[in-house]
Each structure stands twice: as structure tokens, then as C-alpha cells.
């Protein structure tokens, strides 16, 4: 392609206009979706604690104690150095009687420092083990609960929630919790303790220098607090730009044929360039905030240190302080200013964990709208009745089914036909109780499905979807998906009935051939036949076929029709089809239009009437 890609327009940083535009972009991005800000963070924490962390409270306590012990290490070093200077190296300055411990003092210094190091390393190792094992358990239990929730949730939930979002709830979000929740809750005790006893330590070392240094702490914190909210907002905006770029690119690259067919390459590049220009603006805004904060803190810390050294040196001159005191004080100062930043960054980590934890709890709290019934359908015969059923998918204006009533006797073979969107598949969804009707009742074996045990219902009613989902694994694993304990001979019998056996035998490892992720290595017709074999293996009382042979050629379809007739002899079957040839052998044909049952009868009966069926027969040359 000859077009040069459009360049990202440089943000006019510095100018008033540029700054306002960046702010406007951030505001717009934040307004578009409201982050699930934890309205009640305390409730979330309480729940996290009671449900997931309480069993490990011993480890939490131990980790906190270790952390607190650990936070004394810097002060230990400050003290040993003071000892070295005042009692070993420069006893004259100290003016103490037992001056000059000499080489014995050096040895003592060495031993003390080694001891502190040993403690330091032991703390590190112990705390890491405690935190890692605790968060590992948290992750395991949380993931288990989330996965169980997904397994229990209503089908409608999956219609309105993108797959990617659910996966990131269970996987990525929980990773964030693993990396931040436990560790930051434990680690935060360190800076807190340091901030309490650090000032005390400074006061002990020299109260005159300590008072002004301690007064610096709030200034330090204030700089952080003023910028924190802005940094957070900018961060969220940046994440949104990124996820938007991601989903846009994914969609367009996946549909590159369409982009090219409609010659939209340049338009699409321009759209991405626009996103990228916004990305640069917002990213630079974030850099400026973070660097500005760093600069302010560095200036404050440099000022404090220089001032202390100046006045400290004067105190040494006047003999009111030893050099060792001064060195120890400077050392200790670093470990008081440091914790302010530590504390704040743990706070931010906890905040990001908070969003994620809240999202996880939201998913766990999602209501299971289809309430389980108790009546078992085991041993029933396959009678079906729809009694004045009206059903509307959530968010749709028009009902998918509008007062539909019909009854099907055990063993009957019924075809469902009608234009797309007429409600054929919805009948199947209600029969499997993926949804409950708003009005009327669906009965299987005489039992209202709202009172039926869902698992027992699905043991006896089986659906083969038009575009079946296969799982990565072997062919055998997929066929036995509904009956894990099936014998190989049964598997082969089911595959033969679905006209799939010959294909399998032509594969390198027969039934143990891997079919790849989502069964993508199979053609549409092969996938349909595999799905049919899976269904047949479970020997359902009622079999629902949703245009299951649409991707098969006529000869194969005819063969399958024949074997199905034998296999399904005494069983009830409902088949959605576009083909008259399939429908005409059925005991009865139901015609649906816009959610209503408009015609019902045998091939001959319907052909005699004016309507959809006759029109379609004429079209397909079956009159």
C-alpha cells in the first residue's frame, strides 16, 4: 500500500490549550464508564477477612510481627555506627572515660552488624514464606469460588457479558489480588511502625534536630496526598485508552478482509492514530505528575538533610553533640522519610486491590435467577407441553415467544420451521431451562420445569447446537463429554450413527487424535457430526437438533437421517430445519412466525394450506 501511515499529532505540551485538551480527554474517558468504585470498602475488607483470610490469621499475625521486627533493622545499623565512631574511631571527641576500645571494638562492631544481618535475612525469608503461602491459599479459594459461581450462573448472564471480561475476573484480577492484597496488608505494618517509633528514635538521638525533621513529615505526606487523586484518575484514563486500542485492533485485524474489501485501511489507521495521540497526551500527563511528586520530595529531603548537617556540625563545634550522634541521626532520618513513601505506595496498592476485590465480590454476588427445582425427571417419558408460553429476552422489545401452546407425545418426531428470529431456538432454550418464561409454563414429562431438578432435566433432554462448541482435547474426550464412563464400543457406535466413524478412522491416532483449540481443525460439517455423536452417546429421552445438519451435503444428511430414525425409534425428537426434505418425514411440522405458532400439521396437511410451508416447498422444488 502506497499510503504513508498517518503520524501521531504531537501534544503541544506546556501550552495552556494543550493542558486543557488533555484534561478534557481524561474527563471524557472517566465519564464514559464509571469504575466500580467500592462504595463500601469496609464491607469488602470485612468480607475478605472473614471469608478468605481468617483461617490464616495466625500467619498474618506472625508476618506482621516479623515485619515489625524487621523495621527496626535500619535503626540497629544507625546505632552500631554511632558506637563505632564514638567508642572506637574517635573516642577523643566523645570524651568518655573508657575511651578507645580499639580492635576489640572493631570486632564487637563486626559481630553486632553480623547479628543484625542474620536477623534481617531471617525476617526476609520467613515473611516471604508466610505471605506467599497465605496468598496462594487465598488465590486458590477465590478462584474456586469464582469458577463455581460461573458454573452456577444463569445463561442470560453469559449473553450480556463478554467472554474476555469473565476470564480476566477469574485469572488476571485474582493475580492482582495475589500480588497486592496479602502482601500490602502485611507490609504496610512496617512503615506504620517506623513512623511511630522513628520520630521517637530521632528524639532520643537529639531532640533539637528531631523537632524540625519530624515537622517535615506532614509536608512530605501532603505533597503525596494532593497528587495522588490526580495520578489515580490519569492512570484509569490511560488503562481505558489501552483497552480500547486493544479491542479495536483485535476486531479490525480479525476482520481484515472486510477492512480491505471496503478500502477502509486509511480510515482505520487514522482512527488508531487518534487513539495513539490521546495515549501520548495522557501518558505524559501521568509522567509529569509522578516526576513532579518525586522532585518535590527530593527537594524537601535535600533541604532537611543539608539543614541538619549544617546545624548538626555547629552543635559538634559547640560540643553539644558527637560526630557519632550526627552520623546516626542522618542515618535514622533516611529511615523516617522513606516510610512516608512506602506507606503511600502500599495505600495505592491496597486501593487498586480494592477495585479488583470489589469486582470479584460483585461477580460472586451475581444472582442466580433460575432457582433450582426438586422434582427428579428420572424415569419419565418424553412428553412435552408448552402452555401459553410468553418469553422475552432481556433488553429486547419484542417477545421471542408470544403465547405459544402445543403438546408433543412421547416418541413423536416434530420439525420446527420458520423465518430467522421466529423463536425456534428459543423453544429449545426454554426446554433446557436456560431461561424461564415470563408467562405460561413449559412441562416435560408432565412436570413444570420450574419445579424440576435441572440436572435430571438435562440428563434426559439433549441439544445439538447449530454451531457446536468443542473443547480442545481428543475426539474421544469430546464424544464422551456427556458420559465420561462410556465404553469405547459405545463411542464408536455413536460415531457411526452420526456418520463420523469413517472420518475418525482416517485420522492419525483414531479416537485419540487431538482436535486443537476449540476444534478449529475440523470443518463445520465434521464439528456438527461430532456434536451429534456426543448427544447420541448420552441416549437422551428427548433429542433437540438445532439445524444440526446444515453444513452437511445431501447424501450424508440422508444417511444420518436414516440411522437417526432407527436410533431414536422410541424417543421424542424436535428438529429445527430449513429443509423441506428433513421436515417432511416428521410426524408433525410446527411453523413459527414472529414468536407465534401459526401452522401445525403433517407435510401433506400443510401443503394443502396456503402459507409459509407451501411457499418454502415451492422454493425448494418439493411440491
Amino acid at each position: 500500500m502506497s499510503d504513508a501511515p498517518p503520524t501521531t499529532s504531537p501534544p503541544t505540551s506546556g501550552s495552556r490549550d494543550g493542558l486543557d485538551r488533555t484534561s478534557a480527554i481524561i474527563r471524557r474517558l472517566l465519564a464514559e464508564e464509571t469504575e466500580t468504585t467500592a462504595a463500601n470498602w469496609r464491607a469488602d475488607v470485612r468480607r475478605l477477612w472473614h471469608t478468605y483470610l481468617r483461617p490464616f490469621r495466625g500467619r498474618f499475625l506472625a508476618a506482621a510481627i516479623v515485619t515489625i521486627a524487621w523495621s527496626f533493622v535500619p535503626f540497629g545499623f544507625a546505632l552500631t555506627w554511632r558506637f563505632l565512631i564514638d567508642h572506637v574511631l574517635m573516642p577523643a571527641h566523645a570524651g568518655t572515660p573508657g575511651a578507645g576500645l580499639g580492635e576489640r571494638g572493631v570486632l564487637l562492631f563486626f559481630l553486632m552488624n553480623s547479628g543484625i544481618w542474620a536477623a534481617h535475612l531471617a525476617c526476609d525469608r520467613t515473611r516471604s514464606w508466610l505471605v506467599n503461602t497465605t496468598s496462594q491459599n487465598l488465590v486458590l479459594v477465590l478462584r474456586r469460588d469464582l469458577h463455581q459461581k460461573l458454573a452456577a450462573l444463569h445463561i442470560g448472564f453469559f449473553d450480556r457479558t463478554p467472554v474476555g471480561r469473565l476470564i480476566s475476573r477469574v485469572m488476571d484480577d485474582v493475580n492482582v489480588i495475589q500480588q497486592t492484597a496479602v502482601s500490602s496488608l502485611v507490609y504496610i505494618t512496617g512503615p506504620i511502625v517506623k513512623l511511630v517509633y522513628g520520630p521517637a528514635m530521632l528524639l532520643y538521638l537529639d531532640w533539637r534536630l528531631a523537632v524540625p525533621s519530624i515537622l517535615m513529615l506532614p509536608v512530605f505526606g501532603l505533597a503525596f496526598l494532593t497528587l495522588r487523586r490526580r495520578i489515580q484518575r490519569t492512570n484509569i484514563a490511560l488503562r481505558r485508552i489501552n483497552s480500547r486500542t486493544y479491542s479495536r485492533a483485535a476486531e479490525r485485524v480479525n476482520g481484515v478482509r472486510i477492512v480491505q474489501a471496503f478500502t477502509r485501511e486509511r480510515g482505520e489507521s487514522r482512527a488508531l492514530a487518534h487513539l495513539m495521540a490521546e495515549f501520548v497526551r495522557v501518558a505524559m500527563r501521568l509522567v509529569n505528575y509522578e516526576q513532579g511528586l518525586g522532585l518535590i520530595q527530593q527537594a524537601l529531603s535535600a533541604g532537611t538533610t543539608a539543614g541538619l548537617l549544617f546545624f548538626g556540625a555547629l552543635a559538634v563545634r559547640d560540643g553539644t553533640m558527637t560526630l557519632g550522634d550526627l552520623v546516626a541521626f542522618i542515618g535514622a532520618l533516611g529511615s523516617v522519610l522513606g516510610p512516608v513513601n512506602e506507606l503511600m505506595s502500599y495505600c495505592m496498592q491496597i486501593q487498586s486491590a480494592q477495585v479488583v476485590v470489589h469486582r470479584a465480590f460483585n461477580l460472586l454476588d451475581e444472582e442466580v435467577t433460575v432457582k433450582p427445582g426438586q422434582i427428579s425427571l428420572d424415569g419419565m417419558v418424553g412428553a412435552i407441553a408448552f402452555e401459553g408460553v410468553t418469553f422475552r429476552y432481556p433488553g429486547q422489545k419484542r417477545p421471542a415467544l408470544d403465547g405459544v401452546s402445543f403438546a408433543i407425545q412421547p416418541g413423536e418426531k416434530v420439525a420446527l420451521m420458520g423465518p430467522s428470529g421466529s423463536g425456534k431456538s428459543t423453544i429449545f432454550h426454554l426446554l433446557l431451562r436456560f431461561y424461564d418464561p415470563q408467562q405460561g409454563a413449559v412441562r416435560v414429562g408432565g412436570v413444570d420445569l420450574r419445579h424440576a431438578h435441572v440436572n435430571s432435566l438435562r440428563r434426559h433432554v439433549c441439544l445439538v447446537q447449530q454451531e457446536p462448541m468443542l473443547f480442545s482435547g481428543t475426539i474421544a474426550e469430546n464424544i464422551t463429554y456427556g458420559r465420561a464412563d462410556a465404553l469405547p464400543i459405545d463411542v464408536a457406535r455413536a460415531a457411526k450413527a452420526a456418520d463420523f466413524h469413517d472420518f475418525v478412522m482416517a485420522q492419525p491416532f483414531f479416537y485419540h487424535t487431538e482436535i486443537g483449540e476449540g476444534g478449529l481443525s475440523l470443518s463445520g460439517g465434521q464439528r456438527q457430526r461430532l456434536a451429534l455423536a456426543t448427544a447420541l452417546l448420552t441416549q437422551p429421552e428427548i433429542l433437540l437438533l438445532d439445524d444440526t445438519t446444515s453444513a452437511l451435503d445431501a447424501a450424508t444428511e440422508a444417511r444420518i437421517r436414516e440411522t437417526l430414525r432407527q436410533v431414536l425409534q422410541s424417543r421424542t425428537s424436535l428438529v429445527i430445519t430449513q429443509r423441506v426434505i428433513t421436515a417432511r418425514d416428521c410426524d408433525r411440522i410446527l411453523i413459527l412466525e414472529r414468536g407465534r405458532l401459526v401452522q401445525s400439521g403433517t407435510h401433506a396437511e400443510l401443503l394443502a394450506q396456503d402459507g409459509f410451508y407451501r411457499a418454502i416447498c415451492e422454493q425448494q422444488g418439493q411440491v
Binding site: H120, F158, V256, F310, F471
Partner: protein, 579 residues
């Protein structure tokens, strides 16, 4: 290394900024290294000898040096980040534009997930390389060099002890690195497996429910998660052990150095100020070495990413157009395949010397079994592939001699797989003509039987469709795709099995509409339904890359031994003869 060269070429426009950034980095690093020396000066030259008159100047320096370093750092980071962000945005855009122009061969070999991964994750790695690793490496080298030099100057004996410590450190790292890598790779693999299965079970949630597999999927997930976390714990604890060892070596090393230094101070070989500075510089020399190992591991990862990026940038387009190719003017749309040779791979030719004339304004149906080359014929016409011999002309112009965009702009395509993009219904219909006025969109919608559908949606034409919005059925998507093609008012209409998923009634409606819009327009229809084929002005029957029969429905049906006759019989007896 080749990949590095390509990235370097893309970095060229930024070379002045990058140079400035490097100088700035060196400068602020240098300033930040001075503080211990200033303190040494304070202790040895001011406080101990009692030169109080220089105290003010020294204190001022102690204030100014970090301030200067901080200020340089602020502007330097701004410069680096701005350069990196612009470079990365530009790189992403170049890759994206490239991906959108590459042909079906490339996209067939690279699934979209892989390409998007390169566009996002790998480019992020490059950003980290520019803003993180490279700068860190530079800073570390300067700091290490400076610190070790100062150490040797101040106290070479202590510097020797440090060198031994560093050697020990490298040995320990070697021991642990392999163990950590092994465990973390094992974790990564299990994690990917779990994510993959999760995706399948969510996408196939109906399948899971139909077969009552909720419990067993839960159990499988739990056991896999358990073993993945075991691997993670091993990897994390190995990392901890490594860091404990590293800190131990560094800590005891520095303790030995400090004690030895103190002994030297007692012997008068060293001043206290020296010792203070040495203790600070020991850590400045050790930290870069500890970091180096992680930086090196990251660099290795980044090079893999660089290779993948370079592969996209270097991919040769299948289709080449002369730079100053004229635009294809809107004509009558007479298409001619003139002795065309073509095969997807050289050893398997599909077409040898295939010729076909499609007069302007005619509707031609392509019939034949799957794999006979019907679809290939249309992709050649739109120049997704180039013929290997012969020529294709439109109104007498060889399609290789005209601007590619102008060629494709003359077609309206309804492809086999309908793809709608996330956005409103109107945006999707107007995809090929984004500035189309609303009445034209509505008109196209009416023609393709989408209007009623739009009226049933909550916000009409402004309803968001796609994963985050209302989901359309296969047949509905197909009608939207038809509306999209109609809106362009194309010179040539190509429909590739476009109505296969429609139920007969909607197909009949669309057929009526199509007949209207096919008038005065050349159209090529690949259909598996009799109703679609019957109405064509001419039917071309293909078999294994050859044209075997041409004629109208009645003409062809009259031939006793004709392939078409058999084909029609098959259609009559059971729908579509597709594989």
C-alpha cells in the same frame, strides 16, 4: 541482531532526542553520586579539623547537588518518556497500517490473536526497553564504574574484598537462575492451559450445561489451579532464597569491609570520612550487579519481542502496484478473465489457462462443488491474490495496472463470514461509506430487509450491536452485511454464499431486492441454493478449477449428461451440496 537493525532504523528520527536523553541521564547520575564525597569532605575537612568557615559553603553544596540532580532528572525523564511514547505510538501505528494492508496469505499464517499480541504486548516491551532497561543499564554502568573507581582510589584493599564478594554473587545467581526459570515456565504453561480451558468453557457454557458437566469442570479447574499454584510457590520461594543469598553476600561483604575499614582507620591508613564514603559506595557498586541479572533476563525477553515486531514490519506484501498507477474509473463493469493461471501453492495449480467473459450489467452465478475455485475467482478479481499467468481486465483495463484502493472501491462484497464491528447498527451499515447521510443508510437497510430489524431494536439504527450490545442472529448479520455492500452503490456486486444461513423466506425477500439492485450492475453470485442460481442471466459451472458449462438455467438443464443437471438434482433432493 537483524531485528535490532530494523528497530534502529525506526528510531533514527529520534536520534537527537535520544542522544540528549543519554547525556541527561549521565549528568544526573553523576550528580547523584557526589553526595557521599561531600559528606566525607564535611567530616574530614570541616568538622574534624575544625574549619568552620567552610561549613556554610559545604552545607550549601549538600543542598544544591541533589537539587540539581533532581531538576536534571525531571526534564530528562520528561524527554525520555515523550520520545519513547511517540516512538512507540508511531511504531504501533506503522505495524497496524501494515497489518491492514497485508494479504490473505500472511493473515492465514498469522492468527489475529498473535498479531494483536505483537501490536500490544510486544510493543509495550519495546517501550519498557527504552524507558526502563536501557536507561537503568546506563545508570547502573555509570554508578558501578564511578563507585568502584572511587573505592579503589580511597581504599584499594577494601575494593579487593568487594570484588571477591561480587564473584561469589555471580556464582550464587548461576545456581538459582535455572531453578527459578524452570518453575516459572512450568507455572506459565499451566496458567495458559487453565485460561484456555476457561475460555472454552465460558464460550461453550451451553455445552457444559447441556451435559451437566458443571461439577467436573469445577473439579478440573480446581486441581489444575492447585498444581499451578504449587509451581508458583516453588518459583517464588526460589526467588526469595536467591534474594536472601544475594542480600546475605552483600550484607556480610559490606560488614567485613566496614570492620576492616574501621581497623584501617585505627591504624591510621584511612580517615573516618573515607570509611563513611566507602560504606556508601559499596552499596552503589553492589546494587547494579544485583539488578544486572534481572535486566539481562528482561533484555532477552525484549529481543524476542523485537524479532516478532520486525517480522511484521518486514513482511513483504503479496500485491505490488506501480507507484503512479491511475485510479480505476467507474465504467460499465465488463469483466474478462484472460488465460488465467493461478494456484495457492506453486506445486498445486488451480487454474490453468482459464478464460471467462462477463459482459457489463450481467448477473452471473458460479456453481460447483466446494473446492472447485468459485471463491478463488472472486478473490482474484478483487486482487487479494495476483494471477501467476494471464490477466484479468475490467472494462479493458488490467487490474494490476490500477490503484488497488480504487479497484476495490468499485466492488460491493458480501463475504462468506459476516463480521460486524462493535458500534451502532448505522455505523456498521455505513462501514464502507462512513459519511453516508442517514436517509441513504435507511434506504440500504430497507433494500436488505434490515429496516424492520432496526425498528425492533431498542434504539433503532443507533443501537450498539456486538459483544457489548445487542447480539444479532446469523441471518440478521447476513442482512446487515448485504446492506453494507448495497450502500456503496458498487459497480460490481460479489456475493459469496451470502444467503446460505438465511431461512427461505428472508432469502426470497432479499432475492427480490437484489434483483432490483443488480439491474445495470455486473454481479457475481456464489450460491448453493437453486432459487439464487435460477434467476441469474448466466450460470457458470465449475469443476476442479475448470469451467465446464456456461448457459442459462433452462439451457443447462436441457443437457442430458450435464454436470449442472446432476447438481440441480442433488439440490432438489436435499438442500445444499456443500461439503
Amino acid at each position: 541482531m537483524h531485528a535490532l537493525k530494523i528497530i534502529a532504523r525506526h528510531l533514527r528520527p529520534y536520534r537527537v532526542r535520544l542522544l540528549l536523553a543519554l547525556i541527561g541521564t549521565a549528568l544526573f547520575t553523576f550528580f547523584s553520586l557526589l553526595s557521599p564525597l561531600l559528606l566525607r569532605h564535611l567530616f574530614d575537612r570541616v568538622i574534624q579539623p575544625g574549619h568552620w568557615e567552610t561549613l556554610q559553603v559545604t552545607a550549601l553544596l549538600i543542598l544544591l547537588v541533589p537539587l540539581t540532580s533532581g531538576a536534571i532528572r525531571f526534564f530528562n525523564v520528561h524527554l525520555i518518556m515523550l520520545t519513547a511514547n511517540r516512538f512507540v505510538s508511531g511504531l504501533r501505528l506503522t505495524m497496524y497500517s501494515k497489518m491492514l494492508t497485508l494479504g490473505p496469505r500472511y493473515h492465514g499464517e498469522h492468527p489475529s490473536g498473535v498479531l494483536v499480541g505483537r501490536l500490544m504486548d510486544d510493543v509495550n516491551m519495546v517501550q519498557r526497553l527504552l524507558t526502563g532497561e536501557t536507561i537503568q543499564l546506563l545508570v547502573d554502568i555509570i554508578v558501578f564504574g564511578f563507585a568502584i573507581t572511587v573505592l579503589f582510589v580511597l581504599a584499594w584493599k577494601l575494593a579487593l574484598i568487594l570484588s571477591v564478594t561480587l564473584v561469589l554473587y555471580v556464582v550464587v545467581y548461576k545456581v538459582f537462575a535455572g531453578r527459578i526459570r524452570g518453575a516459572s515456565q512450568a507455572y506459565r504453561q499451566l496458567y495458559d492451559e487453565i485460561s484456555g480451558r476457561l475460555q472454552e468453557t465460558i464460550q461453550g457454557v451451553r455445552q457444559v450445561r447441556i451435559y451437566n458437566r458443571e461439577e467436573s469442570e469445577n473439579a478440573l479447574f480446581l486441581s489444575r489451579t492447585e498444581s499451578s499454584l504449587e509451581k508458583l510457590l516453588i518459583s517464588n520461594m526460589s526467588s526469595t532464597r536467591l534474594s536472601v543469598w544475594c542480600n546475605g553476600i552483600a550484607g556480610y561483604g559490606s560488614t567485613v569491609i566496614a570492620a576492616t575499614g574501621a581497623y584501617l582507620v585505627l591504624r591510621g591508613e584511612l580517615t573516618y570520612g573515607d570509611l563513611y564514603a566507602v560504606d556508601n559506595y559499596v552499596w552503589m557498586a553492589v546494587n547494579p550487579v544485583i539488578r544486572l541479572t534481572t535486566v539481562v533476563a528482561r533484555l532477552a525477553e525484549t529481543f524476542v519481542s523485537l524479532g516478532r515486531i520486525a517480522e511484521v514490519l518486514e513482511a513483504a506484501p503479496d500485491i505490488q502496484t506501480p507507484p503512479a498507477a491511475p485510479r480505476l474509473r467507474r465504467g460499465r463493469g465488463a469483466i474478462r478473465f484472460d488465460g488465467v493461471h493461478f494456484g495457492y501453492s506453486p506445486d498445486k495449480p488451480l487454474f490453468t489457462n482459464l478464460s471467462l467473459d462477463i459482459p457489463a450489467g450481467m448477473t452471473v452465478a458460479l456453481a460447483g462443488h466446494t473446492g472447485c475455485g468459485k471463491s478463488t475467482l472472486t478473490t482474484l478479481l478483487m486482487r487479494y491474490w495476483d494471477v501467476t499467468g494471464g490477466a484479468i481486465t475490467i472494462d479493458g483495463v488490467d487490474i494490476r495496472q490500477v490503484n488497488l484502493q480504487s479497484l476495490r472501491a468499485r466492488f460491493g462484497v458480501v463475504p462468506q463470514q459476516q463480521l460486524l464491528f462493535e458500534g451502532t447498527l448505522a455505523e456498521n451499515i455505513a462501514y464502507g461509506l462512513p459519511r453516508a447521510p442517514r436517509p441513504r443508510i435507511e434506504e440500504a437497510a430497507r433494500l436488505a430487509e434490515v429496516y424492520q430489524l432496526a425498528m425492533d431494536l431498542p434504539n433503532g439504527f443507533d443501537t450498539i450491536i456486538g459483544p457489548a450490545g445487542v447480539q444479532l442472529s446469523v441471518g440478521e448479520k447476513q442482512r446487515v452485511a448485504i446492506a453494507r455492500a448495497i450502500l456503496r452503490d458498487p459497480m460490481v456486486l460479489i456475493m459469496d454464499e451470502a444467503t446460505s444461513a438465511l431461512d427461505s423466506e428472508s432469502e426470497a425477500l432479499i432475492q427480490k431486492a437484489l434483483r432490483r439492485i443488480q439491474q445495470g450492475r455486473t454481479s457475481l453470485v456464489i450460491a448453493h441454493r437453486l432459487s439464487t442460481i435460477e434467476n441469474a442471466d448466466r450460470i457458470v459451472v465449475m469443476d476442479q478449477g475448470r469451467i465446464v458449462e456456461i448457459g442459462t438455467h433452462t439451457e443447462l438443464l436441457a443437457r442430458d449428461q450435464g454436470l449442472y443437471r446432476g447438481y440441480v438434482m442433488q439440490l432438489r433432493s436435499g438442500g445444499e451440496p456443500a461439503a
